[in-house]
């Protein structure tokens, strides 16, 4: 007698990655259940929470943080035991952490896939850029990415389109802000080029989303949904027939007798629990939570590689007053990038890097600064206008290398459901530190180009909220968690997807690459179940 299953496929996690995988499976006629630890919150409630909170610069601020579904807002939930404190920002709700992001949807470049063979550092991927290219196209058209077809994003191949593209972006790039164009013209004589950041902030209406009109609040929450978030694909997946169960925290992945995964067990905040079976399982629960769940379940970890090779993007920032008014804050909160050291020989010695230009309305920070300086009276309004018009800030992301000693593990504390917290161990190496001097060198030129007055140019590294390597993909079952198809080496019907798959971090935001891998994995699964 044939086995009975609750679904063809169970997807754990309704973020951008899980929802895209679920939607692809549903489109190919599979029955799918999505399990989400958080709940669904309508956009208007998030906007209202943002507007009614004094913590406007807390990107987690408008979002729920529950004892049974903790986010990084609970500091005890994310525990650092290494030498470098990783500040994590992640959410738990339908749609996941892309509710609060800058919409940066870059592709990796071919050399990112072969760091070891090209530069002698890090690891090679088990697939090439060419293998992933058609899936990048699919991901860009699913999400909706606005970008410039003909641009060199490597910083090393002027005049070429790099990485190579088989198809144009679904939408043209947004126009540069006046500030970005002014900056671009100022640094061009120094040999710097500013390229458009491929962005999920739409440049026109796309799949029911409106075009961006510059509300300048991409994070913590876009008020109109011009900026993509995973909730769009969670909704598409449900419309396509997927069953979405919220308030369902998976606490165990259950192995069957034949080495396959048999079922998953989840708990809800009301005390209820359930076990669901499927032919195939997709774990897409976030770069920290996915490895944690695997370790908790003693699944896929015989080689002790789960949770290791944690790679963040480290970085620096600079802010300064330009001599002339440039007016930041007009348009989305970020546009443009400069790739001085993304690719090339320096990468064998130190991290590649991406500089990006912030474009947020600076009034609150400017006002706080002026009040601290004792400015009062009618002078205050004049100074707010003067300084806000001239404020510029850039931030830089450094790539990091995979090191098994850097890891995420279950901690000793427990949440309301009895599940462990997240314990991080991370230490910065000389490869990343080696990028500090060249980065500061660029900053000094940027400030000089604008005849600027520096406000902050710190050498203290901070991390960005990008997590790679924790469910690492590889060519060998000895030193990786999943194979080239995102399939667990140990359990043939378990696929693990997310930014944790990435064997190199590159210098760009990893979301698009994770979505491309997830759609590709879903396509593989659809052929099997």
């Amino acid at each position: 007698m044939a086995n009975q299953y609750d679904a063809d496929v169970i997807v754990i996690g309704s973020g951008t990655v899980g929802s895209n995988a679920a939607y692809e499976l549903a489109k190919q006629g599979k029955s799918v259940i999505i399990l989400e630890a958080g709940v669904r919150i309508p956009r208007w409630k998030l906007i209202e929470s943002f507007r009614n909170s004094p913590r406007r610069q807390d990107y987690n601020g408008p979002y729920p943080d529950q004892p049974w579904a903790h986010t990084s807002s609970s500091h005890e939930y994310v525990e650092n035991v290494g030498g470098f404190p990783m500040v994590a920002n992640f959410l738990k709700l339908v749609g996941g952490s892309t509710w609060h992001w800058g919409g940066a949807t870059w592709r990796f470049i071919p050399d990112d896939f072969k760091m070891k063979s090209t530069y002698g550092v890090g690891r090679d991927w088990p697939i090439s850029y060419d293998d992933l290219e058609p899936w990048y196209v699919k991901a860009e058209w699913e999400i909706g990415v606005a970008g410039n077809m003909n641009e060199d994003q490597s910083g090393a191949r002027p005049g070429q389109t790099w990485p190579p593209r088989s198809k144009d972006f679904p939408m043209p790039a947004q126009k540069n802000s006046y500030m970005l164009d002014t900056f671009k013209n100022a640094i061009a004589p120094m040999g710097y080029d500013v390229v458009a950041e491929p962005s999920a902030m739409m440049s026109g209406s796309y799949r029911g989303r409106p075009g961006c009109v510059g509300n300048n609040n991409c994070a913590p929450v876009c008020p109109i949904g011009a900026n993509y978030s995973g909730v769009f694909h969670a909704d598409l997946a449900v419309e396509a027939g997927c069953k979405l169960i919220t308030d369902a925290t998976v606490d165990k992945i259950i192995k069957g007798a034949d080495g396959k995964i048999e079922a998953v067990h989840y708990k809800s905040s009301d005390g209820s629990e359930a076990t669901l079976s499927a032919k195939t399982f997709v774990l897409a629960a976030h770069g920290y939570e996915s490895p944690k769940l695997l370790i908790m379940s003693d699944v896929g970890n015989k080689n002790d590689m789960v949770g290791r090779n944690l790679m963040p993007h480290l970085g620096l920032g600079v802010d300064f007053f330009s001599e002339d008014a440039v007016w930041p804050g007009r348009g989305p909160i970020q546009q443009g990038a400069i790739f001085t050291y993304r690719d090339g020989e320096s990468r064998s010695r130190h991290s590649g890097m991406k500089h990006a230009v912030n474009n947020f309305v600076p009034n609150e920070n400017i006002t706080k600064r002026l009040l601290k300086k004792g400015v009062l009276g009618s002078q205050l309004d004049d100074r707010i206008r003067h300084d806000s018009a001239r404020y510029m800030s850039l931030y830089t992301m450094f790539e990091t290398l995979p090191d098994p000693a850097n890891r995420v593990q279950p901690g000793d504390k427990t949440d309301a459901l009895g599940n462990p917290n997240i314990r991080l161990t991370y230490n910065v190496d000389d490869y990343a530190r080696g990028a500090i001097d060249p980065c500061i060198g660029d900053y000094q030129k940027f400030v000089q180009a604008m005849n600027g007055e520096t406000l902050n140019m710190s050498r203290d590294l901070a991390n960005h909220d990008h997590i790679m390597g924790t469910t690492i993909m590889g060519a060998s079952a000895e030193d990786s968690v999943v194979d080239k198809d995102c399939r667990s080496w140990e359990h043939e019907n378990l696929f693990i997807v997310g930014t944790g798959n990435l064997p190199s971090s590159s210098v760009v935001n990893p979301t698009l690459t994770a979505v491309a891998l997830a759609i590709r994995a879903a396509d593989t699964i659809a052929k099997e179940v």
Binding site: N52, Q57, D58, G214, R330, V361, L371
Partner: protein, 197 residues
């Protein structure tokens, strides 16, 4: 505070009912006390300089706080609901705030200054400047206390978002984040004021 120039026009439809930073009158919930306070402050704004004695009628209570707040920030009126909220929160934050407010009231009255700039020109003592900075921060930033997103909790409490005075000086050039004021790609051009900026 409907006379604040930075209020974007035509955005009312986007605001969920009951958002607490809207003036009471705009919500339709008009209260007698609001009316009295608004009237009193409107009158004050006109006559504070001409009749300095009026400042003496203000106590170290919410009403007095509203009067001083209007003087310190150079505003004709401030939303009475927000005045009450801010005062309650400031007193809770600093048990000595009422005394500091009294001291500032007395100093302003004694100076005979008819505007904040005139008062600042009298070189007030640092403790008075500190009190003015506290008051100015509330109205410009729209909260009491100090938000610290690096911590789980802090002492910051909400007063207003859209009516925070920090938006006013740039209202022709940049949006109050989340409130649409412009069309797509408007940002490709500088604001009309750029030659003077």
């Amino acid at each position: 505070m409907s006379d604040i120039p930075n209020r974007p026009s035509g955005t009312g439809a986007h605001i969920p009912a009951g958002v607490p930073d809207r003036p009471a009158a705009a919500r339709g919930g008009f209260r007698r006390r609001d009316f009295l306070l608004t009237s009193a402050m409107t009158g004050l704004a006109v006559s504070l300089g001409a009749t300095p004695g009026l400042a003496a009628t203000a106590g170290a209570d919410a009403e007095g706080f509203g009067t001083i707040s209007a003087f310190v920030t150079g505003q004709a009126t401030l939303n009475p609901a927000l005045v009450q909220r801010a005062f309650t929160q400031l007193v809770a934050l600093d048990g000595g705030f009422a005394d500091k407010l009294s001291a500032l009231q007395t100093a302003i009255k004694d100076s005979g200054a008819d505007s904040i700039d005139a008062f600042l020109a009298t070189a007030p003592a640092q403790d008075l400047r500190d009190t003015m900075t506290t008051i100015t921060a509330v109205w410009y930033l729209g909260y009491t206390g100090t938000p610290d997103p690096s911590q789980e909790k802090d002492d910051a409490k909400f007063v207003t978002y859209r009516d925070a005075l920090m938006w006013g000086p740039t209202s022709d050039a940049t949006p109050i984040p989340t409130y649409s004021q412009h069309n797509q790609n408007y940002w490709a051009k500088p604001p009309a004021s750029i030659a003077k900026d």
